[in-house]
Subunit: 356 residues, 3 copies
């Protein structure tokens, strides 16, 4: 499968876009090369994920994919935090959360829905994901509302942010324990079981060890190419008069999530919608419950604590994304129109952010 | 059934209230005649809908009913838009959405619940309706929040309104394709199937062609009588000191939805709660996703674009209505107490609007 | 069971803390004695509830427990209303609602989840509870939003509060009719039925009459001890510089709900999670739909009407509690992680209130 994913082109475009970046070619050239390269490395990552998922089961595979996908974002964000660019960090975290919940999930459900009338996944997992998403937005809304209605000192705001960040990290670790150990079977994909009784139509491309190695390698490549691509965006912001909020929340997030996009959509089209949901929702949960709190602590160690207070429209965007995504996944069934609805909300938010 | 629905009285009161309207009799007389006439034409419309539903199945029947019910509202609203009375248009759209979700749905579920312990309908349809309702409120909330938190020019607000309106119309057309074509069976009423195996206890009153003709005729009559009745309301606003918001959002909406009321309640009492939900929820969705956007475009062609920014209390009213209606329909089962809860919320909103 | 619940110690500490209160011993001594006494009387109440539940079935038992638990709160609140301390009343009502929905329910689900992988209860009851919670927050949000966006006179605000309070009491009485009479079986606990077919492993400790007598007696004792404990809190507020909001919404509520805590957690650990949910959610619903409206009317008779307008952060706290609790109970299944999530939200709110 995927004959176009030639190792030669993959490496060629990676090297070319590296050269363009480090030699400082014209930004437009840099952008084009990096964009093409992203397609290849994302495809490579998708293939590696699929192979690992074959050995690890859909859910662990999905978790690994979400983690490797977010590793890139975390690294980029830490550099931004170090330089004190908190607004851009929050914009890109917002963009990553809504990009996963609306664009990645929407495209996956829509694409899967064009091939299969109704796709199903574990309804208990859907319910748990919904509750976790709600906890995530509560953790972001509560400090913001307290700050806007009461005169709280900057120092108190930072203390509150650190405490809430700590609570979220504990909650996230407990979630890993719950989903990987105590209730692994309870959340298992419904399609996974039935699939294992089928004759193995898809033999994996690589051995277990090679699959894991390629997964790590592909993630690293995605991280680099994403950063090179992001680097060229400032030129676009200036040349085309786009707002930083729009660039951070939409362009950066779309490109930064290229890996999740391709993997999730591909799995959905193979009727493994459970793994797609795990990638998309799992990735956004990881950003809200783990990446964001880690950045708060990282900023604390760099000497200037980033608070957890997002702007009103960022909270609005995250809130409505959670609201519609929860409504759509909660019955454990999806169809093409539900994917379309997620994309509709994404476009409405995108147009609104563009207007600001 | 419905022996009181004599064709003679129906026509007599229609002609009388027409005479009262065009001859300009005393507004109180006009009001009384139009109110009595509404009862008859709504009854007629209900009977026609029932007959059409017999031939078309519950869902298509419900859709037809919602459409014919809203045709009247759309026509009235376009006249208001033409005259630039945007606030009144928004108040009556708000009233129509909450009137359908709370009053029509509440009365139907309550009335049906007094005869049947638990009534069921297709749970997939309930879920889709819930998600559509959420998209509708997102489309109304997002522009309002952006406008209130950022300095956006009037021109940008209108552009944003036109774009969002366009997106909503596309989403609505896609919903028709989904519900009428690609997933018709998936959303079919659960009771419909079992009912068709029963011996035909209720033979239709009219032939298929006659039923459709009467449905159109009844809708037109309802449209006329509603308008005559609405015309008399200004007198009440002035004489009894009611606010325009209350009159627009409650009195106009209740009378304008008379057709949906009678049809939906009647179907619920025959245990066709699926059709009632389709009328009530379908009608409110049609207003939010189709009638409202069409009015935005209509205003554009009349030279003065109406924006999509509803007032805070209108958004509050729509938001809480969607919230409670979604909670009540989402399990695909209803009982009398759930109907009562919808009515409770309607009364709380009504009293609050009355106070303003 | 519960060998530590010696009648001698129960009475001894009750008498001691009564002596400390009326003789005016040092507040710290009063606090320690009352706190120990609370543990014993709450244990006694829990045992009595369990016995009554054995005779009455889980749901009626849960309702009785919620009522007796709230009787104490209602009495204390009426004294506060009489003295016009409306802010403290609202803070403690808020604390009681969120304490039940997050702390009591969270501890029950978590404790039960450590013994049983998944606990189930009637999904129809879960759905009804969710809808009732939403109506409760709508009744609190709507007057607050109207007041904040429109200039409404104090007199109109009080009229609106009285009307909404009246509507809520009607809704609550209708709920009792629904849940106790017309749909008793529909809401029956799933585990209750299966349990009744088991050989009676747990014989009740007392006769039916004695159980009821002890339930009343234990409730009265809890009411007294709670009040004595609350009395000592002012000292803590002053000495340790805590805000009244935090003391009212957290300390008072935690102690005032001691009875519900112990009973609900104990039932959950015996796999009667349905009764735990009934106590926790039922208790919070009773406060929102019955205790609060009754206090509005009580204040009216004392000559100074308390309005229904809660502060923004009180509404936020109630809103997020309902949102997460509804998400967690709506599938009628619970596990330890869901209990943890409720506790996480409780801690986030607690830390935030502490900071104000």
């Amino acid at each position: 499968m995927k004959k176009w994913l030639s190792p030669f082109l993959l490496i060629a475009f990676f090297v070319l876009s590296a050269a363009a970046h480090f030699a400082g070619w014209d930004p437009i050239i840099q952008f084009i090369l990096a964009a093409i390269s992203v397609i290849f490395v994302a495809g490579f990552l998708g293939k590696a994920t699929e192979n690992v998922a074959h050995y690890a089961g859909q859910r662990l595979g999905g978790f690994l994919n979400a983690t490797f996908g977010n590793a890139a974002e975390l690294i980029i964000a830490i550099f931004l935090v170090k330089e004190g660019l908190f607004d851009m960090v929050k914009a890109s975290l917002t963009g990553s959360i809504i990009g996963n919940l609306l664009l990645v999930l929407g495209l996956s459900i829509f694409a899967g829905g064009t091939k299969f009338k109704v796709q199903s996944f574990n309804v208990s997992l859907a319910g748990m994901n919904g509750s976790l998403m709600i906890v995530a937005i509560i953790a972001l809304f509560v400090p913001a509302v307290f700050l806007n209605t009461h005169s709280i000192t900057t120092s108190d705001t930072q203390t509150l942010s650190l405490i809430v960040a700590g609570i979220l990290i504990v909650a996230y670790i407990a979630w890993l324990i719950f989903s990987m150990f105590t209730h692994k079977k309870y959340l298992a994909d419904v399609t996974e079981d039935s699939e294992e009784e089928l004759p193995h139509e898809h033999t994996p491309d690589w051995s277990k060890g090679k699959s894991i190695l390629y997964l790590v390698l592909a993630t690293v490549m995605v991280a680099f190419v994403s950063e090179w691509l992001v680097d060229t965006l400032e030129t676009f912001t200036t040349r085309f008069g786009l707002s930083e909020l729009f660039v951070g929340a939409f362009l950066v997030a779309i490109i930064g999530n290229a890996a999740e996009h391709s993997a999730a959509v591909m799995l959905a089209m193979k009727n493994k919608i459970g793994a797609s949901v795990e990638i998309a929702v799992g990735s956004s949960l990881q950003i809200a419950l783990f990446v964001t709190p880690v950045l708060v602590f990282a900023s604390y160690f760099y000497g200037n604590t980033m608070n957890l207070v997002f702007s009103t429209i960022e909270l609005l965007a995250i809130g409505v994304s959670v609201f519609i995504a929860k409504s759509i996944i909660q019955d454990g069934k999806t169809n093409w129109y539900e994917g379309l609805l997620l994309l509709v909300v994404y476009v409405i938010l995108g147009v609104s952010f563009f207007m600001v």
